[in-house]
């Protein structure tokens, strides 16, 4: 695996993910190259209660949904990660 740096990102939590994480946002350090699966693992390791709904979460990076199909993602300091539970708008 290529040598990695850590970058500081802002993580936002909404609805049930915020209830379980106990916070609406936080700054964390993550590797600058990750898959969405790894990123989700890092986040739910920080907030164990999120494991209960991990299968129902996806992530957005800078307001774009990501998925396993996105492959490896390049992150930069200041990027915004959102932890998104199932939607119920409309």
């Amino acid at each position: 695996m290529q040598r990695q740096s850590l970058v500081e990102v802002r993580v936002l939590y909404f609805a049930k993910s915020r209830d379980l994480a106990g916070t609406a946002e936080e700054i964390i350090k993550v590797p600058d190259r990750v898959t969405s699966q790894l990123l989700l693992e890092i986040i739910t390791d920080r907030h164990i209660e999120l494991k209960t709904i991990q299968q129902n979460l996806i992530l957005a990076v800078n307001q774009d949904y990501i998925s396993e199909e996105s492959g490896e993602i390049q992150l930069s300091t200041g990027d915004e990660i959102a932890v998104i539970p199932p939607l119920s708008g409309g």
């Binding site: 957005a60 307001q63 998104i84 199932p86 708008g89 409309g90």
Partner: protein, 152 residues
């Protein structure tokens, strides 16, 4: 946000149907189709007191804009208004108002259906339903592709 053809609003006050239809009414358009999503008083036998909506606002606007771009490309529609309520919403008030105008009605009828269906599937907005008994739940749209236990 506004452009020439699209008006998107996320609002913590009562949504204006008049504003949506006035924005979409144009001299070359013979049809305006509207969808209004309303707060129901019951769900699966439980009495709903009110709703609370929350959004990832910047991304919600972005996703709604994508929906509108697709509508403008796919159908001969001319103006689109999409308003979504945030915060506390009492029974029988609107949570969403969508209005679409087109020269002929088929386009606006199809486009408004596409809009509400896709909004429910892609726009990061969440609904908390609060019940008479004092409990509450975060709802899940069955349209949401990553839900493993989609309910209504």
């Amino acid at each position: 946000m506004t452009s020439d053809q699209v008006l998107i609003k996320l609002s913590s006050s009562v949504l204006s149907l008049d504003e949506a239809t006035q924005f979409t009414t144009l001299p070359e358009c013979g049809a305006v189709s509207v969808f209004i999503g309303i707060t129901r008083d019951n769900c699966n036998g439980k009495t709903v007191l009110h709703l609370e909506y929350e959004a990832y606002e910047a991304m919600a606007v972005k996703e709604i804009q994508k929906i509108c771009d697709h509508m403008l490309k796919t159908w001969d529609v001319r103006r689109i208004a999409v308003f979504h309520r945030l915060g506390y919403v009492p029974i029988t008030e609107a949570s969403v108002v969508i209005a679409v105008s087109s020269p002929h009605r088929k386009a606006s009828l199809e486009a408004v259906e596409y809009c509400i269906d896709t909004l429910k599937a892609t726009v990061p907005i969440w609904k908390k339903e609060l019940y008479k008994e004092g409990d509450w739940i975060w709802k899940t749209n069955k349209e949401c592709s990553w839900s493993k236990d989609a309910a209504s």
